[in-house]
Symmetry: C2
Subunit: 315 residues, 2 copies
């Protein structure tokens, strides 16, 4: 089959072996896959990954032990847990030490004509949610994890640092709380439609030090983290959404003095994300900058640099 793989370099393979589903796994034909910042890091050697890339997808089940899934349109959680270890038995499969992760860690991903995932990872896509929206389920779930971790009140002020794909989704989720939301970034060309949603945008220079109740850093770079640290009020909540590639040194003593909670998250809940898409509570269409066919996946990766969402059309 065709697949976009990394084997020391990023390339389109035309004769890559099809995945062989294990017991309990389904075989899925992806329709669309999204390119995310993590994919671009993997293409530079992150995680020492080898195989087909891609973890954001929507597709159709073509094979499963459980006939009820065959022919259904699905999205899938990316961590394939063992299901048997103490961590899994506590219901925390996304932290299973034996897990593989779709397109990220020892499991071929979704930028291919077929992928395999445990049936336990799958979620049906409601009929009213189009493929172009459903492909955002995984990053939207990551954004919703903010609300799972912390109580953000309608009377509070929230700031999101970073106006990339994830930052814009996080700001949109915070907007639903009724609270004042500011998105700080460096891409004024993206701000008009975001402002129209009731989210203030800017470079953050108008925001007073130590004035913000909830700050979410979506930049993953030391500059963004420094901005977040400057803005957070005593007793505020600072949330870190991005994977920091490499280590970031940080003096935590001021946080202790100011009683600031530092909350971190990686993956989020899929069912709420699908409900939010079904209720049309977030704008995803404006996040899509281009759709490339799988055959032009290498060009798509090049185009994804510094852009909003680039999708791959597969089947």
């Amino acid at each position: 089959m065709r697949a976009l793989i990394f084997d020391g370099q990023l390339r389109l393979a035309t004769n890559y072996p099809e995945p062989v589903p294990r017991p309990g796994e389904a075989l899925i034909r992806p329709h669309l896959a999204g390119i995310c910042a993590t994919d671009r890091e993997i293409a530079r050697g992150y995680m020492n990954f080898r195989g087909a890339l891609g973890h954001e997808f929507v597709g159709t089940v073509v094979e499963s032990d459980d006939e009820r899934w065959v022919g259904r349109r699905v999205v899938g959680e990316i961590n394939a847990a063992c299901g048997a270890c103490p961590t899994c038995r506590r219901g925390e499969g996304s932290h299973c030490p034996h897990r593989t992760t779709l397109g990220i860690d020892r499991r071929d991903g979704a930028m291919a004509e077929l992928l395999a995932l445990p049936v336990a990872n799958l979620h049906l896509v409601p009929e009213s949610v189009a493929d172009r929206a459903a492909v955002f389920t995984e990053p939207l779930a990551a954004a919703l994890q903010i609300l799972e971790l912390a109580h953000v009140r309608p009377t509070e002020r929230a700031v999101v640092v970073g106006d990339g794909k994830l930052g814009i989704l996080v700001a949109q989720v915070l907007r639903l709380m009724g609270c004042a939301v500011h998105l700080i970034g460096r891409h004024p060309e993206r701000w008009d439609w975001i402002e129209a949603l009731g989210i203030k945008t800017g470079d953050g220079s108008d925001l007073a030090d130590r004035s913000v109740d909830v700050v979410v850093d979506c930049t993953g770079n030391p500059g963004g983290l420094e901005t977040a640290r400057r803005l957070i009020r005593p007793r505020g909540r600072l949330m870190l959404k991005s994977t920091f590639h490499g280590s970031v040194e940080m003096n935590l003593t001021p946080f202790v003095v100011d009683e600031i909670a530092v909350l971190t998250s990686r993956c989020g809940p899929f069912e709420p994300a699908l409900r939010v898409l079904e209720r049309r509570l977030v704008e995803t269409e404006r996040l899509i900058e281009a759709v490339y066919p799988l055959d032009q996946a290498e060009d798509a990766f090049e185009a994804a640099r510094g852009r909003l969402k680039i999708l791959l059309a597969i089947a």
Copy 2:
């Protein structure tokens, strides 16, 4: 001026004295006023109120010491606090023991050609929010208070008991969290458009005992409270939104055993409510069943029984 008053009976007065604003108060000409369940109780003698009814309104400032307010379109918080007592100095003016309350307690209300309120109570209405939406600011603020009190997570299940005006607003606010939301009521004729928003409706018989994370009672009657008590899970949060007219006996021991938090609220925050209206996050138009001119206010009160929102058009 004309005003709908209660002086032992409900009647339209045509020569009622105009309010005389005290220092710091503005004189406002209401455009629309909403009839709420509390108004109907007042018309039956609740609070021993005497004077012009009405606390839900949108209007234009016609007179103020502060010229910047004159001509502006406003909504207003209903509790007029003294501003000087220890409660007010703690920032809790809505609990000021010396407060008067618009159309509810020793202050003439909004179902009249003019009303007076402290400038400190006023909020500008954003241009994009029409009068027919802005008139819902007060009840929507009351609904948003749910989110001020408790952390409702996207992965949780919330149930609202009571499909009246307030219950439908509360369900719509909970819907924004991404959580599963059920509205339990007795008015199937109202459910189609509510279901289309992603809110499940029904009589609650399909919901298992002790299965719900967050239950909000918006009925204010013992039957509704009993349903809420049946559904709430151990360690869940039970919220009481309605004013109980008269006392309701309740054995609290099971709550202690099950570690259930009982949270209550009355008024809510206006600025978040205006942001939610500006962002078009809740449907208010479908809540309006009829608009009556002030001259037909007595008929409007009669029509409001068992109906959704009835508005009075004043100026």
